[in-house]
């Protein structure tokens, strides 16, 4: 299991690197889709069918929006020459990333090894959840009963985002 997920994550990393360096924006968007759809397979392997369903819908919608934006405008990236400033930025970024990776490695040391999760918090949700919520799907039980206000906040964020998109696209800009 760990090996299969590692292979898929390496595939995702390669897709992300290609998406960042592609000279055509449309192929960058499609390569970004590799990452999202591989995530669906990872969720299925990690026994999270609800997440896989939601992720495949969300990724498709995101891809459609991005392709629509790219097709409506210029597709080639105006790279120009790879000048000194670009080299300095890339070198600084690599140094920052190396330091960050060290910190993340240190921070992940006290975590339980992969596959040996102890469920400290979820026991209260799992035991007797069917009697309390009437839902056999524990994720739905947590989402809509134990943490219902969280879902209400999520709906609020969605409505705010829709209102924001409509406002941004409808106003006439200063010429």
């Amino acid at each position: 299991m760990e090996l299969a997920i590692s292979v898929i994550i390496i595939f995702m990393i390669l897709g992300a690197i290609y998406a960042i360096h592609a000279s055509d924006i449309l192929s960058a968007v499609i390569a970004g889709g590799i990452v999202g759809y591989s995530l669906v397979i990872c969720f299925l392997l990690l026994k999270a069918p609800d997440l896989a369903i939601v992720q495949i819908v969300v990724e498709t919608i995101t891809l459609i929006i991005m392709v629509a934006v790219v097709l409506d405008s210029s597709r080639t990236e105006a790279y120009g020459k790879f000048d000194t400033q670009a080299w300095v930025t890339a070198a600084t970024a690599v140094v920052i990333l190396a330091i960050l990776f060290w910190f993340l490695k240190e921070a992940s040391a006290p975590l339980a090894p992969f596959g040996e999760n102890t469920m400290r918090m979820a026991d209260a949700y799992v035991n007797g959840a069917v009697d309390k919520t009437g839902s056999v799907n524990l994720v739905t039980g947590v989402l809509f009963d134990f943490r219902g206000y969280d879902t209400l906040g999520e709906a609020t964020v969605l409505i705010t985002a829709v209102l924001g998109v409509l406002t941004i696209l409808r106003i006439r800009g200063r010429k």
Binding site: S6, A16, A19, A28, G32, I65, E77, L97, V142
Partner: protein, 112 residues
Amino acid sequence: MTVYWLCFILFLVGLYGVITRRNLIKIAISLSVMEFSCFLFLALIGYTEGGVAPIVDTADPVKTYVDPLPQAMVLTAIVIGLATTAMLMAVIIRIYRKYGTFDIREINNLRG
């Protein structure tokens, strides 16, 4: 632990894209790569070896389930991620209509 480290590398690849790229669409793609790596990390933490999907079978209730709590949190985060991406693309469309380019250096030069 290898999967956790690969997950960090995926996050850092996204961060590298955000820092070094000058194209707005590529910055948006890199941001969603960072998002996906966070979702993957939370789902990895909740996995239990030999567990089944957290759907209770009432005929045979004694089973090991994977942790449903991170899954519920990630479900919320995925939908909010879609909302923020849509908002970001709307802003990018406005910028393109005003300046005619995705390149952030050009946009910087045209200010005024």
